[in-house]
C-alpha cells in the first residue's frame, strides 16, 4: 500500500493554494470554496497579465472570491504563466500560453464539482479567457473588465501620432505648466526613457545582436487591424452565454472602440442580434487598471450580483 491518496473532502477549507499544469508551465491558483452547499457555478478570475498577481490590485479578486464564498459560490483566481507565482515568462498573446493557462484554470475549477463557469477577465486577461472559453460548453457567462478589444494603432503597435498624443495632450501640458512637481517628474521621466533607449541601442550596435528578450508574437497572435476576438465573442454571444463588457467613461480602451468604426459596427451587430446576450456597463471614471477603490467596490458588487443571478440565488448580503 502506498502513501495516503489525497482526495476531496467535504470539510473543504476556505482557500487553498494550487499549482496547475498548463502545457510546460506551472500555473499558480488560489481556490476559494464555500463551507457548505456550493452552487454548480464556479467563478474564474483572470487578472490583467504583467505586473499583476492572483489577488489583483488592492486584493480585488481576493475580495470577490471571499464574497462569492459567502454566497456559496466557489471561485478560482490564478496567475498567468510568467506572472505572480507561476513559472515561465509572460508572453502577450491572444492565444497560446495565456489561453492554455485559462483553460487549465477552467478545468481545475470544473474538477472541484462546478458544472458551469462565469469567467471574469480584467483588461488583457479577458482576451485569452474568451479564446479559451469559446471552445467549451460550460461557460455560462463572461465579464470582461475594460478589455483592449482595439489595440493602439489597431495593429498591435501604437502609431507615432497616438504615441505622441499620449505625451502631448491638453491635460498633460496644462499640468506641466501649472504643477512644478509634475514638471520635474515629467522631464525626469523623458530623460530617463531616452537614456535607457540610448543604452539599449548602443548595446545593440556593439553586440550586433538583438537586445530583445521578449519573444516576438507569433503570426497567430499578431492582431489584425480590426477588433480583437470578434469571431470568438460572436460565437459566445450567439450560443447563449451572458457576456458583459465593463468600462469606465475615462478608459482608453473604451475610447479606442468608440473611435474605431469597424469595432463599433461589429459590437453593434452583436448587440442587435442578441441584445440580452451582450451587456454593456459603463461606470463613471476609469475602470481600466482598477485605480479607484470606489469603482473596485462597484465591480465587486457587479460580479457577485451576476454570479448570484446565474445561480438563481439572491445575494445574501451586500458588503
Amino acid at each position: 500500500m502506498s502513501s495516503p491518496t489525497p482526495v476531496a473532502s467535504t470539510d473543504t477549507p476556505l482557500e487553498t493554494a494550487r499549482y496547475l499544469q498548463s502545457g510546460t508551465e506551472t500555473v499558480f491558483a488560489v481556490y476559494t470554496s464555500p463551507a457548505s452547499s456550493p452552487t454548480d457555478l464556479g467563478v474564474l478570475l483572470a487578472h490583467s497579465g504583467p505586473n499583476n498577481f492572483s489577488a489583483h490590485r488592492n486584493g480585488v479578486w481576493t475580495s470577490i472570491s471571499r464574497r462569492l464564498q459567502r454566497e456559496g459560490i466557489p471561485s478560482l483566481r490564478f496567475d498567468f504563466a510568467g506572472t505572480g507565482e507561476s513559472s515561465g515568462e509572460f508572453v502577450l498573446r491572444l492565444d497560446g500560453q495565456p489561453a492554455a493557462d485559462v483553460a487549465a484554470a477552467m478545468d481545475a475549477l470544473r474538477a472541484t464539482g462546478c458544472r458551469r463557469l462565469l469567467v471574469v477577465g480584467s483588461c488583457f486577461g479577458g482576451i485569452p479567457s474568451v479564446v479559451a472559453g469559446v471552445a467549451r460548453r460550460d461557460v455560462a457567462g463572461m465579464i470582461l473588465v475594460s478589455p483592449p478589444l482595439v489595440l493602439p494603432g489597431a495593429g498591435g503597435m501604437a502609431s507615432f501620432r497616438e504615441r505622441l498624443r499620449e505625451v502631448i495632450n491638453g491635460p498633460t501640458l496644462r499640468t506641466v505648466v501649472t504643477n512644478g512637481e509634475y514638471r520635474r517628474w515629467f522631464f525626469g521621466r523623458l530623460a530617463s526613457l531616452a537614456r535607457t533607449k540610448a543604452t539599449v541601442r548602443v548595446s545593440r550596435l556593439t553586440s550586433r545582436t538583438s537586445a530583445s528578450r521578449t519573444p516576438e508574437p507569433s503570426a497567430a497572435a499578431r492582431p489584425g487591424p480590426g477588433m480583437l476576438i470578434e469571431s470568438e465573442l460572436a460565437r459566445l454571444v450567439m450560443t447563449g452565454g451572458h457576456i458583459e463588457m465593463v468600462f469606465g467613461t475615462s478608459d482608453d480602451n473604451l475610447a479606442r472602440i468608440e473611435g474605431h468604426a469597424e469595432a463599433s459596427r461589429a459590437l453593434r451587430r452583436l448587440r442587435d442580434r442578441r441584445p440580452a446576450g451582450l451587456v454593456w456597463t459603463v461606470f463613471d471614471g476609469a475602470v481600466h487598471g482598477l485605480e479607484d477603490v470606489a469603482l473596485q467596490e462597484q465591480l465587486i458588487h457587479l460580479v457577485v450580483e451576476r454570479a448570484c443571478d446565474l445561480t438563481g440565488r439572491p445575494p445574501a448580503a451586500a458588503g
Binding site: A8, D11, E15, A17, F53, S54, A55, G82
Partner: protein, 735 residues
C-alpha cells in the same frame, strides 16, 4: 534514557476521569504519563460531567470500562469534581493548594465542564500558574445540538480564554477552525500532534494462520450521526456475495443520540449474516481483543477533528480505511497503511475495502509519538514562562523600547505643512529583543500546494495564526537542505505589483544556489486575510514567516531582504536575529518622505489617466484622519499604517553588535539618503556595502517596450546575482 526533571515546573492536567469514561479520559491519562517524565505532574479529573440522565452514554457511567487507565504512583490524582460542585470543588481547590502547580493544562472538549474549568483556572491563575488549554474540538457535537448549550459556551468561553496563556491544538485543521470559532486573542497557539494509544493495544497474534479465514474488518467507537457507520454498512452491502464472503465486518460501539441508521442498514444488508454488531461501550480489555483480531480498521466519519480510534489503529499498525476529513488527513499523512476515501461516498469506500485483502497481515510504523507531545509541551511551557509572569500583551508585537529621542522632532507628511502633532507618533529607537520571537504560530503551511520549478521546490499556502492567515510561499532547493533562509519583506501598493516578479525570480535564483527563501503577503493584503495594518503588525508577520520557513528547512542562517518601504519592516524584524545579514533594495529610509513621494505619484497618475484632479495632500490627510483610510491610486491606505510608517526611519534600527548590511539603491530620490544611512550604520560598527543599480525606483510608471524591458531584465539579473553573491559570502564568512 536519562531525563532531566524541570524542578521548577509543576504541572497539573485537568481532564476527564473514568466515571464518565471516554477518549478524553484516556488522553488525560496518557498525557499525564508523558509529562511526568520531565515535570512533577498531577491529574485533576472531572468525575460526574452532567446529570446521568442527560448523558447519551448513561448505560456505562460508573462501569469499570476504562481499566487500562491506571495512573502511576508518582502522579497524584484527584478524582474528581462533579458538575454540581459541592465538596468536590473545595477538595479540588485544596488539591491545587497542595500541588502548587506552575502550569495547569485543561483538556477541552465539551461545555459541560466549562463552569468548573472557569473556577479552577481563575483559582490557579490567581496563584501564579500559567494556564494552557488543549483543544480536542470546539464543542462536542451532540452537546452543541442541545438547545442553549452553544450560546452558553459562547457566553462563558471568553472568560476562560482571558485566563489562558497558551493553546494546544492537534492539527493545522484545528488551528484554522478553532480560532474561527473563538477569539483566542493574543495567546500562544501551538500544534502538538496527538500521541498513540499504546496502552489500549496488545500484541497481535500471528496472522499466518488466519489467511484462510475471512478478513476481519473492524469499526469501533461511539455510533453517532457524524461517524458515518451506515456508509460502511452500505459499502459492505454493495460488495457481491463472493467478495463479501472474504470479509467479516464487526461494528463495535454504543449507539448515541438514537442514531439507528447503521443498525437499520445492517438489517437491510444482503450480507447481514457477515456483520457482527456490538452495541455497548466495551471495556478496554475487550477493545484490545477486537483490535488484536482485526485485519483492518474502517473509520467512515463524515466529519472529525480528531479520532481516538484512528490513533488506536495506527498504534496497532493496521491498514486503515479512513475518510479524508478534518484533522484526520494530517494524522495519516505519514502513515503508509492508510487508504483515504471521500466522506459519504459508499462506492469509494467499497472500492477501498476491495483493496484490503492485498495488504492483509501487513503492519506499518506509527509516525506519531508521545515524544513529539513532550517536546511540544517543553517548548510551549518555556514560551509561556518567557512572557515573564504576565498575561500576553494585547498587541502581540515585537517588544519596542523607547530609546533616545530622535533628532527629528517636527515631522511633516506633505513636505510643507506640519501635520497635527497628535497624528504623529513620537520618534523611537527601535530595539526588537531577540528573545521576543513570536511563538503563537502553527509553523506549517495549511491548504498548501507544492511544485518544482527548475529544480526549486516551491510551497505556497497559508500560515494560520490566531489573528489571521498569511499567504506564504517557501522556495528551497529540491535536492538538498538549504544552508540559510532569507525572508523577503516586500514593498506596498502599486510598487509591490511591479516588484513582485523580481522577488519571485530572486527567490528561485537563491533557491538554486542552495538557500531557502520565504515570501509572503502582509496581513490584510493580497491573498492574506484581513487584519489591522501597521508597521508593528507587518514586522510580526515577517517574524512569524521566518519561523515558519526555518522549521522545514532547518536552516541555520537567517537573513532579511526589504524592498522599498518593506525595508522598514525588514530592518525591524532583522533585529530579532543576532547574526542575520540585511539586504535592502531601493530602501525607504524615511517613512514620511515615502508618503510624500507616494502622494505626489498619486497626482501624477491622476493627470496621466486624464482623471479629474486628485485632492491635495492636505485634503487626503484630513480624510485619512476622519475616515481611517483613503484611496491612493486604487489602494486602500489605512490610517494606522500611515501613522506608524510616517514615524519610522531606517536609521533607528540599531543593532547591538556589528552586522553585515547590503544597500542596493535604485536610480531616484531614495538613493540620495543611502550614503548617510550607510555612514550612520558604519558608525555603529556595521559592515555596510553599497551597490547602486541602474534600475529606476519609481517603477509604477515603468515604460513599456521590449527594448526597455530587455534592459530592465538584464539589470535585474545583475542586481539579483549581486545580492546572491553578497549573501553567500556573508554566510561563508560566518554571517
Amino acid at each position: 534514557l536519562h531525563r532531566v526533571k524541570h524542578d521548577n515546573e509543576r504541572v497539573v492536567i485537568v481532564g476527564s476521569g473514568g466515571h464518565f469514561a471516554s477518549g478524553i479520559s484516556h488522553y488525560t491519562y496518557m498525557l499525564s504519563c508523558t509529562l511526568k517524565e520531565e515535570y512533577e505532574t498531577g491529574a485533576l479529573l472531572m468525575r460526574r460531567l452532567v446529570p446521568k440522565r442527560l448523558y447519551p452514554g448513561r448505560d456505562h457511567v460508573g462501569a469499570p470500562v476504562a481499566s487500562a487507565v491506571v495512573y502511576p504512583p508518582d502522579v497524584p490524582v484527584y478524582d474528581g469534581v462533579d458538575w454540581y460542585w459541592g465538596a468536590s470543588l473545595t477538595k479540588a481547590l485544596r488539591y491545587l493548594d497542595c500541588q502548587r502547580p506552575t502550569v495547569v493544562i485543561f483538556q477541552w472538549w465539551a461545555g459541560a465542564v466549562l463552569h468548573t474549568y472557569l473556577r479552577l483556572a481563575k483559582y490557579a491563575a490567581r496563584h501564579g500558574a500559567k494556564i494552557i488549554l488543549e483543544w480536542h474540538e470546539s464543542q462536542d457535537v451532540g452537546e452543541a445540538a442541545m438547545p442553549g448549550t452553544r450560546r452558553y459556551v459562547q457566553l462563558l468561553m471568553p472568560r476562560l480564554l482571558s485566563l489562558v496563556d497558551g493553546h494546544v491544538v492537534h492539527s493545522d485543521f484545528d488551528l484554522r477552525t478553532i480560532p474561527s470559532a473563538y477569539q483566542l486573542g493574543n495567546s500562544i497557539v501551538r500544534v502538538i500532534p496527538h500521541g498513540p494509544y499504546s496502552h489500549l493495544v496488545t500484541e497481535a497474534p500471528p496472522t499466518d494462520g488466519r489467511k484462510e479465514s475471512p478478513l476481519q474488518l473492524l469499526y469501533f467507537g461511539v455510533v453517532r450521526p457524524f461517524k458515518g457507520v451506515e456508509d460502511l454498512v452500505t459499502a459492505f452491502s454493495m460488495l457481491d456475495r463472493d467478495q463479501a464472503r472474504q470479509f467479516r465486518l464487526t461494528v463495535v460501539g454504543e449507539t448515541w443520540e438514537k442514531w439507528t441508521a447503521p443498525d437499520d442498514a445492517i438489517a437491510r444488508s444482503p450480507h447481514a449474516d457477515l456483520i457482527d454488531r456490538v452495541d455497548r461501550y466495551v471495556s478496554d480489555e475487550e477493545l484490545a481483543a477486537y483490535v488484536a483480531q482485526a485485519d483492518a480498521i474502517v473509520l467512515p466519519y463524515h466529519r472529525s477533528s480528531m479520532s481516538g480510534p484512528l490513533h488506536i489503529a495506527l498504534t496497532a499498525g493496521l491498514p486503515v480505511v479512513v475518510t479524508a476529513v478534518g484533522g484526520l488527513l494530517e494524522v495519516v499523512r505519514d502513515y503508509e497503511g492508510a487508504v483515504l476515501v471521500p466522506p459519504q461516498d459508499p462506492a469509494a469506500l467499497r472500492d477501498a475495502l476491495r483493496k484490503l485483502p492485498a495488504v492483509r497481515g501487513q503492519r506499518y510504523p506509527n509516525p506519531n509519538s508521545w515524544q513529539q507531545t513532550l517536546a511540544g509541551y517543553r517548548t510551549l511551557i518555556s514560551d509561556v514562562r518567557r512572557t515573564g509572569g504576565i498575561r500576553p500583551p494585547t498587541d502581540r508585537t515585537p517588544r519596542v523600547t523607547d530609546g533616545p529621542r530622535s533628532k527629528l522632532t517636527a515631522m511633516t507628511t506633505d513636505g510643507n505643512r506640519p501635520v497635527a502633532a497628535s497624528r504623529v507618533k513620537p520618534q523611537t529607537h527601535v530595539t526588537v529583543e531577540p528573545d521576543s520571537l513570536p511563538a503563537s504560530v502553527g509553523l506549517s503551511l495549511a491548504n498548501s500546494a507544492r511544485t518544482i520549478v527548475a529544480g526549486v521546490l516551491e510551497e505556497a499556502g497559508f500560515l494560520m495564526r490566531p489573528d489571521g492567515a498569511l499567504f506564504v510561499v517557501l522556495h528551497r532547493p529540491a535536492d538538498r537542505p538549504p544552508s540559510g533562509s532569507l525572508t523577503v519583506c516586500s514593498s506596498l501598493f502599486a510598487e509591490q505589483h511591479t516588484d513582485y516578479r523580481r522577488e519571485v525570480r530572486l527567490a528561485r535564483m537563491l533557491a538554486s544556489a542552495g538557500l531557502a527563501v520565504a515570501r509572503f503577503h502582509y496581513r490584510g493584503l493580497g491573498n492574506s486575510t484581513p487584519g489591522p495594518a501597521s508597521l508593528d503588525a507587518f514586522t510580526q508577520d515577517a517574524l512569524d514567516v521566518t519561523l515558519a520557513a526555518r522549521r522545514p528547512t532547518s536552516a541555520s542562517h537567517v537573513a532579511f531582504l526589504g524592498e522599498g518601504v518593506g525595508s522598514l519592516v525588514a530592518s525591524r524584524a532583522w533585529l530579532a536575529y543576532q547574526d542575520a545579514p540585511l539586504l535592502l533594495w531601493k530602501p525607504v529610509s524615511d517613512g514620511a518622505q515615502y508618503f510624500r513621494d507616494l502622494f505626489r505619484a498619486r497626482l501624477i497618475a491622476a493627470t496621466r489617466a486624464h482623471a479629474p484632479r486628485a485632492g491635495t495632500t492636505a485634503e487626503l490627510l484630513a480624510a485619512l484622519a476622519s475616515e481611517g483610510h483613503v484611496d491612493v491610486m486604487g489602494f486602500t491606505l489605512a490610517a494606522s499604517l500611515h501613522e506608524s510608517l510616517v514615524a519610522s526611519r531606517l536609521a533607528e534600527a540599531l543593532p547591538r553588535q556589528p552586522r553585515r548590511i547590503l544597500l542596493q539603491p535604485f536610480r531616484g530620490p531614495r538613493a540620495v539618503g543611502v550614503e548617510q544611512l550607510a555612514a550612520d550604520w558604519t558608525a555603529r560598527g556595521c559592515l555596510v556595502d553599497v551597490q547602486p543599480t541602474k534600475l529606476v525606483e519609481d517603477s509604477w510608471f515603468i515604460p513599456d517596450g521590449a527594448a526597455v524591458a530587455a534592459s530592465v531584465h538584464d539589470t535585474e539579473e545583475q542586481l539579483m546575482a549581486d545580492a546572491r553573491d553578497w549573501l553567500l559570502s556573508s554566510w561563508g564568512n560566518g554571517g
